[in-house]
């Protein structure tokens, strides 16, 4: 199936096995954390790790079953094509940068750049449209959230300089 050409990509089975292993690993972390918190009975009854310990066990056990099922059922299908995954990454990567920049730039500046980048790069819009949406949305957000409903949003140096 996974020959060269346009329809190449990671097989569904590979990704599914990977996800299952990651979940199992998460379960093991939960078990380890629970053991550290104490899984037996203390003076005040079951201790803090008692419940999550069994939850962790369930996660590992269920993952084992899922792993077995995933190994058995192989329809040879693709998880997604590389071009599709590139599309997905073209959202994930800029969003990650946006999220990472938020604490430093504040919400408004970061959002403007993010929206503008997205529209210009992926949508190929003219600068006028880009500017209208990229500036309009944060302004509307400011009015609705901070003015009317008084929900404070993260601000950076630009907002401070503007005295907002």
């Amino acid at each position: 199936m996974s020959s060269q050409g346009r329809s190449a990509g990671p097989s569904h089975k590979t990704v599914e096995l990977g996800v299952t292993l990651a979940i199992a690993l998460f379960g093991i972390i939960v078990i380890a954390g629970s053991v550290k918190a104490g899984i037996n009975w203390g003076a005040e009854g079951p201790r803090a790790g008692f419940f999550p310990f069994y939850v962790g066990l369930f996660i590992v056990a269920a993952s084992a079953m899922n792993f077995r099922n995933a190994l058995r059922e192989d329809d040879g299908g693709l998880f997604a094509e590389w071009t599709q995954l590139r599309q997905v990454m073209s959202v994930v990567v800029p969003t990650a940068i946006y999220v990472g920049a938020l604490p430093f730039t504040g919400l408004y500046l970061a959002s403007m750049i993010f929206i503008a980048w997205f529209m210009r790069w992926l949508g190929k819009y003219g600068w006028l449209t880009v500017a209208a949406v990229a500036i309009g949305m944060p302004v509307v957000t400011y009015l609705i959230f901070e003015r009317w409903f008084m929900v404070p949003l993260p601000k950076g140096p630009v907002e401070e300089w503007l005295g907002l």
Binding site: G38, A48, V55, G56, I59, S90
Partner: protein, 499 residues
């Protein structure tokens, strides 16, 4: 008839000018949310929840529940006009709704869908009015063991009734429980599972998870599919509406059956999606015109829409009376109650009469307002879908970030949101259901508390969960639900052997 008096008092509350305004606002926002890709009932309500922090709780719940009704209505628009189910429960609506639109009968299909939604919701609200107070007063006698048994039943129903493989459902659910356990242990006051990371002290907020899993995850899925929206035109005028309404009474039996299916599936946390499929399937089998289903049969729109809306509404019954939400959106509403300082569960009917009955009254009014809004404004909402995805997507992503930030005014939560988003994408692609994960994060602490308190009373013996008729029955029902697929398979095998 104390309930009737309460209900009238509730109408007086819901009809205050501010509450009516909030109601209409909620409906309009809800329909927009239901129409947009990446925004649905659950994450839409979660994002807008911070806006209600400064409102009185009754107005807040009216607005949020109306967003929910709006989203339920909105799902039908995209299914019928664009063949894109905005919400999973409107998938079954596309089967006959989209063919109708292609035949130029979009107006009829939409009218039928909206009217059926309204009928289903009305049926469920009447049921809530009559049944919820009884359930609540019954549940007042519950001890910790009974409480845990109810949670147990709720989660087992997920395993038994969902389409996804049972072990994946269990894995997703347990991840939710584990995430809920992170942070301060409410009973011993001890820290756990934080691994020295200070940001994890307060644990994971399920609102962040909802916004990430459903919102960001959905956007990523849409990106992968590279959707371009092409669809029919929506024209609804009074003539079409009246003409369709004249036809609808002929399907009263389908309607009633779908209402019952919807209410039943809505109360058990299986939810609206299986209800709509089940209702469609049964209507197809029993209808005289069943063979024509899938080619634009109006009955094929009536059945799933009625059931989905009845189920979506009925999901609020266990949320109000037991504190166990029947759907992710109901879970978000329950989260709202906690933030406004209300304790969900049976005591709500005793201590917060105005709140409960104001909400119930607003369900009647909100659904009526919703019907009017969608019937009159369909072209406007359909136009929203024509806005290209490369404009909509960054706006929705920014909105999600704002929503995630404003829950606790924390930028760390925004990072978590993105992590949950990628998880949501992977989980959805690999067939892990998200609803039980979210519900487990919401109910995890409460379920654990009930579990540990029951064990404390019994000195650690699990027999406490079968110590009296009531708790034993609920637990037994839970076990039946848990092994439902196995039981069904066994029954089928038995039948083929004897036949």
């Amino acid at each position: 008839m104390e309930e009737l008096a309460n209900l009238f008092h509730g109408f007086a509350v819901a009809l205050q000018p501010f509450n009516i305004m909030v109601m209409i606002l909620g409906i309009v926002l809800g329909v927009i949310i239901g129409v947009l890709p990446g925004l649905g009932g659950a994450n839409g309500v979660a994002i807008l929840l911070p806006l209600t922090f400064s409102m009185p709780p009754t107005s807040a719940i009216i607005m949020l529940s109306c967003i929910y009704w709006g989203a339920l209505f909105g799902g039908a628009i995209t299914s019928i006009l664009f063949n894109i189910p905005g919400e999973p429960w409107s998938v079954a609506t596309t089967f006959d709704g989209y063919p109708m639109a292609q035949q130029g009968k979009a107006g009829e299909a939409l009218t039928a869908a909206f009217t059926s939604s309204f009928v289903g919701a009305l049926f469920a609200v009447v049921m809530i009015t009559l049944v919820a107070p009884l359930v609540a007063s019954f549940a007042l006698q519950f001890g910790p063991a009974e409480k845990f048994a109810v949670y147990f039943l709720a989660f087992c129903s997920f395993v038994g009734l969902s389409k996804e493989p049972p072990f994946k459902t269990i894995a997703a659910m347990m991840i939710g429980f584990a995430l809920a356990a992170v942070g301060l242990d409410s009973i011993t006051g001890q820290l756990r599972l934080t691994f020295g990371i200070t940001e994890l002290l307060n644990g994971f907020d399920f609102l962040i998870a909802v916004i990430g899993l459903f919102g960001i995850g959905e956007i990523l899925l849409t990106m992968e599919e590279g959707l371009s929206f092409r669809g029919g035109n929506a024209k609804i005028n009074l003539r079409v509406v009246l003409h369709t309404w004249k036809e609808m009474p002929a399907y009263w039996l389908t309607s009633l059956r779908s209402c019952l299916i919807g209410c039943w599936m809505g109360i058990t946390p299986a939810g609206a999606t299986p209800a709509s499929f089940m209702s469609y399937g049964i209507a197809k089998r029993l209808s005289k015109r069943g063979k024509k289903f899938g080619h634009g049969e109006i009955e094929g729109v009536v059945a799933p829409e009625t059931a989905a809306h009845a189920a979506g509404t009925a999901a609020l019954l266990p949320m109000l009376s037991l504190g166990v939400p029947g759907s992710p959106t109901a879970a978000v509403l329950l989260g709202g109650l906690l933030i406004w300082g209300l304790q969900p569960g049976p005591m709500l009917f005793v201590e917060q009469k105005e709140f409960v009955w104001g909400l119930i009254a607003s369900m009647y009014l909100g659904n009526l307002a919703g019907l009017l809004v969608v019937l009159t404004c369909v072209p406007v909402f359909a136009a929203i879908l024509r806005i290209p995805f490369s404009i909509i997507a960054p706006l929705i992503l920014v909105l999600c970030a704002i929503g995630a930030y404003s829950v606790h005014s924390s930028t760390f939560d925004v990072v978590l949101m993105l992590v949950f988003g990628v998880l949501g994408y992977l989980f959805k692609k690999c067939g892990y259901p998200l609803a039980p994960l979210v519900l487990a994060i919401v109910l995890g602490d409460k379920a654990e508390e009930a579990f540990r308190q029951s064990l404390l009373g019994s000195q650690g013996s699990l027999a406490v969960f079968f110590s009296n008729g009531l708790v034993g029955t609920i637990m037994a029902l839970g076990l039946i639900a848990l092994f439902w697929s196995v039981i069904q398979e066994g029954y089928n095998r038995l039948r083929t052997v004897t036949a």
